[in-house]
C-alpha cells in the first residue's frame, strides 16, 4: 500500500531517528511511505478559541495539498501534528460555514473538499497492518525487557480525535506484547510530560519526568516507550537533569515504539539513531541479550 506521509518540523531535526525507523519498518512490511509535497508547519497546538479561525489555516493548507496529490489518507508520526491535523479536519467537516470562510480566505489554494483521513502511525499499524502480522515477523523478541508504555496527551485527548481510550489506553501495551516485552503498568502514563514548559520552566518538566519515571521504577520497569518527540525530549533529557534534583534517582532509557519494532524485526540497529538520546538505550538491549541472534 502506498501511504502519503506528513512529517512536521521536529521529524527533520531532533526526531530524525523516529522518521528513519518508521521508513525502515514500512519498507520491511512491504508498504511504501512517501513524503508529501508542500507540507508546512501544522501549528502544533490546535486553536481552542471558538472565534479564531486563523490558527486552522496551517493544518488545512497541508490537508488541501494531500487532496491535490490525489490521496485521501495521510500518515503522521508526531503526536502533536496528528492531533492538530485531526482537530482541524474534524472542525471543517462538522462546520460547513467555517470551511467556507477558510476556503475563501485561501484563494490561492484549491478548495478543501473534506475527503482526507489523518492516521497516526500507530493507528496504521494496528488497523491496517495488524499487530498479528507484526508478531509473525518478529526475529529478535524483546524477551525480559520490562517496559512502561507512556502515552502522553496528544494521542488520547480530546476524545473526538483520540486513537485509543483516554483513561485506559492499550495500544502501546498490545504492540509491546506482540514484540515479546513485559508490560509495566503505570497510572501516570496518560499524564502530561510538561510539554512546552520545557523552554521556560525546566524544573517543572524535570519534576514531571521524575514523577512519571519514578513510579515506573518502583514497579520494576527497565525502560519507557513512547511516541511523541516532545515527550521523548522531556522524559529523556529533562529526566536526566532530574538526577541532580532528586538524590539517588537514575533515569531509565526512553525508546520510540518504532525503534523497538525495528530492533524486534531484526533491522540494522544503526537505523535507530540511539545517539540522539540522553540516556543510552543500547546498553539495556545488549544487557537483555536482544541483539544476540
Amino acid at each position: 500500500m502506498k501511504m502519503l506521509y506528513f512529517p512536521g518540523c521536529t521529524l527533520k531535526t531532533s526526531a530524525k531517528n523516529l522518521e528513519k525507523t518508521a521508513f525502515a519498518i514500512m519498507e520491511k512490511l512491504g508498504h511504501e511511505m512517501v513524503e508529501m509535497d508542500d507540507w508546512t508547519c501544522c501549528g502544533v497546538v490546535s486553536s481552542l478559541s471558538d472565534d479564531d479561525l486563523m490558527r486552522h489555516l496551517a493544518p488545512l493548507r497541508s490537508l488541501i495539498h494531500v487532496e491535490d496529490q490525489g490521496e485521501d489518507k495521510v500518515l503522521t508520526l508526531c503526536d502533536m501534528c496528528c492531533n492538530t491535523l485531526k482537530q482541524t479536519n474534524l472542525r471543517v467537516k462538522e462546520k460547513a460555514d467555517d470551511l467556507e470562510t477558510l476556503n475563501a480566505f485561501m484563494d490561492q489554494e484549491n478548495d478543501y473538499k473534506g475527503t482526507v483521513t489523518v492516521y497516526h502511525f500507530l493507528e496504521f499499524l494496528r488497523d491496517e497492518v495488524g499487530f498479528k502480522t507484526l508478531k509473525k515477523m518478529v526475529k529478535n523478541p524483546l524477551r525480559g525487557m520490562k517496559i512502561m508504555p507512556y502515552y502522553g496527551c496528544m494521542m488520547l485527548r480530546p476524545r473526538e480525535v483520540a486513537i485509543d481510550d483516554a483513561e485506559d489506553p492499550q495500544i502501546l501495551s498490545d504492540l509491546l506484547k506482540v514484540l515479546g516485552a513485559d508490560i509495566v503498568d503505570n497510572p501516570f502514563n496518560i499524564e502530561c510530560c510538561g510539554s512546552y514548559h520545557t523552554v521556560e520552566h525546566k524544573e517543572i518538566v524535570s519534576n514531571r519526568a521524575h514523577r512519571i519515571t519514578n513510579f515506573a521504577l518502583e514497579r520494576g520497569a527497565d525502560a519507557i516507550v513512547l511516541s511523541c518527540p516532545l515527550c521523548r525530549f522531556n522524559i529523556d533529557v529533562r529526566g536526566k537533569e532530574a538526577e541532580k534534583l532528586h538524590r539517588g534517582y537514575k533515569q531509565i532509557p526512553v525508546y520510540y515504539y518504532t525503534q523497538l519494532i525495528a530492533i524486534a524485526l531484526g533491522l540494522d540497529p544503526t537505523v535507530c539513531g540511539f545517539e540522539q538520546h540522553a540516556v543510552d538505550p543500547n546498553l539495556l538491549l545488549k544487557k537483555k541479550g536482544v541483539y544476540r541472534k
Binding site: G8, C9, T10, T13, S14, A15, C41, G43, V44, V45, L48, S49, D50, D51, D52, R55, C78, M80, C153, R157, P158, R159, A166, E167, I190, E191, C192, G194, S195, Y196, H197, T198, V199, E200, I204, R208, P229, L230, F233, V237
Partner: protein
Amino acid sequence: MARKQLPKNKEISKIVFKKGELVKEVEDICGENLFGCYQCGTCSAGCPYVDDMDLTPDEVIRYVVLDRQEVLSSKTIWLCSACFTCAERCPRDINITKIMEALRQIILRRKIDHSYAQKTSKKEREAIPQIAFVSLFRKNIG
C-alpha cells in the same frame, strides 16, 4: 473562600471589566457555560500542574463567575499546557482547557505577551524540539 494573594502585574491590572463582562467575554471566546460548574474539583484533582498553581482550576472558574478580575494575574492560566485531562473528566462536560485558553486570550488580545523565551541559552535553543517553541509562542504570545 479566603482571598488569595496573587502576583501583581501592572499591565494586566489595567484590564478592567464592567460588572459581569469578564464571564461574558470568557464564554464568548470559549463557548463553554461557566455557570454549569458545580465545584466538584475533579479538574483540580487530576491536573498535573496543580502543585505549582496559585489557584486550582475549579477556583479559576469560580473567580471568573464571581467577577474577581485578579484571576487574570494568576499563574494558573499560564501553567495549563492544554493536556485536556480536566476536559475529559469533567462530569458537567465543561471544557476547562478552553476556559484557560480564553483567559489567556483576553490578555494576549490586549497586546500583553507572556514569554521570556528569548532568554533561553543558545545550547538549549539548539537542543529543544521546535514543537516546544511553536506551541509556547502560540499559547503565550498574542
